[in-house]
Symmetry: C2
Subunit: 345 residues, 2 copies
Amino acid sequence: MRRPTLRDVAEGAGVHAATASRALNPATRHLVSRETVQRVDRVAAALGYRVNPVARSLKTARSASIGLIVPDLMNPLFPPIVRGVEDVLLPIGYNAWIANTDNDPAREAATVEAMRARNVEGFVLATARLEHPLIDQLDAADVPLVLVNRRTGRADVPSVTPDDVSGVALAMRHLVELGHRRIAHLAGPQDLSTGVTRLRAFRQALEDHGLEVAPERIVTCKEWSQVAGAEGAGRLLDSGAEFTAVLAGNDLLALGCYDALAQRNLRCPEDVSVVGFNDIPFIDRVSPPLTSVRIPQYDIGAEAARLLLEELRDPGRHPRSIILPLKLCVRGSTATVDPHRERRR
Amino acid sequence: MRRPTLRDVAEGAGVHAATASRALNPATRHLVSRETVQRVDRVAAALGYRVNPVARSLKTARSASIGLIVPDLMNPLFPPIVRGVEDVLLPIGYNAWIANTDNDPAREAATVEAMRARNVEGFVLATARLEHPLIDQLDAADVPLVLVNRRTGRADVPSVTPDDVSGVALAMRHLVELGHRRIAHLAGPQDLSTGVTRLRAFRQALEDHGLEVAPERIVTCKEWSQVAGAEGAGRLLDSGAEFTAVLAGNDLLALGCYDALAQRNLRCPEDVSVVGFNDIPFIDRVSPPLTSVRIPQYDIGAEAARLLLEELRDPGRHPRSIILPLKLCVRGSTATVDPHRERRR
DNA sequence: TTGAAAGCGCTAACAT
DNA sequence: ATGTTAGCGCTTTCAA
């Protein structure tokens, strides 16, 4: 009951293994006569033959699979991206091997190494930091690579990212239209492109609206998490800085901000308005309602997969990056604010 | 700049490749003299040698990796399970290849086949249905296997599951103590063990509390999703059945129930109380607050990984299954209910 | 159009 | 303690 090998098929069809190989491989099938192909196919089907991908991979140094590296599957932002990648790759016979790095560079390096050693043909990486030796190294080794959601500091690595600048502008316009004049920013990690870009766009938006850029209204969080958001918002609230609204770098930070407000018996949006970013699944169910900038997560994954496939098929091609448009999801009351109101102490 | 092979190391150390192989493999290192081991280690380090797992796998038919098959990564229940599995396996040098089946049996079969062909040594499966030919087949082929969260119809496949019966009992006791007497159940898919077990436990709990088991208060949902929950709750509400509380089969169904209630201008908990199951991440933030039964998702993953490792190390061993305890997370007002109140129409 | 032969990189049974 | 040899299952160049 051993799994049949190519030799078994070849013997059954009365041909040499090499011929059977050619007959079974769509790319070389044309080298074999019609009758032989049919005979081999029939025997293969009868025996239930399946090519051994390990042997094939040892020979060809390919694998019909790519690695998909995610920093944190518990962040609801990433599962839809995974799905987008899979939906493009699986139908054309590629496998996506998903791995979770838990934001740990060592774990990331180990996983990438393990996958490379297994001949994955490329990577979709959602873990990019601005300074990212591993990415530099992969790029230098000409490993096909597409970054999603975040970019690295270098411009020449292909990526698929949301249009954070426009997204922040949308969110800020919304707040300004509600009457807010003193707006704070709960910024994300400044070693990630998303954190930096959104902070920069925040400053730009203030200027565009003729508002003061007050450094004390900007607080940086160490990671994209609810806990870090609560900690950062706590610093902001306890600093005495004056503001009526907070633009959170993402939804998890916004949730943390909610925690910090509740802890200080401040109401939202009566005392402070909060706007989030990403519009993660289920965020439409939280209380108080959170207005958020929607990112096309599934499309980011799908586009990344397509970009990677292009790279695989045409290695010399000039690297491209894609920026996807965002839209604002307004939730909760849209009552305007007295711009002169003071935050309750 | 070719990746160094074992032969390169062997030549550099002046030994035969077989000796180098033995020296580098912890399991066979004792067969080689101390000096030779040192010399080989030094050369390997200098060259940056890494074993080629594809070649090793072709030879040994093993892979130091297992497959982790998840039905739907977008369901927040699963990422913590993934993490539990990884945290046990990675430190001992095993890789977990994660795959998402999107609840599609064909996709599941293809993924499992792809992984088996790559010599994964076992599976952690979170996709079990009660009737599940693929599981029967894997079990018949003696593929090491642990089911998580859900079980199949057969008792002899190892599994790690939550104690759904006790969980339902806790939830029902809570509702009864709040004064509810007519309690409905939004049941999950009846081809999954979780759906069936929770429904059965619901009936049992009614009897234990001396309450009537009214068939019109039980509605089955086709899948564990918010949409299916809204659809099921809609049927329940529109049927004219009388009830003051709903036990939802899981949190996603509970959220769907919220949608159905809101659509009909019914308030929660004033008109209908809802209790969920799983206590998924972020469910503590939804409005109105949802009481839910907490499942130790991370522990389920970790225990499953341990069970699988035992199977790998001791294949003949009698299969075990593990049931993990649950607890109730009460949220929102705990005001008691007039048992004679009528649901608003 | 097909066959022969070599080899991808490694391990393990056997021999020394 | 180390070397020899064979082979895991496949693809691919070369020859016929």
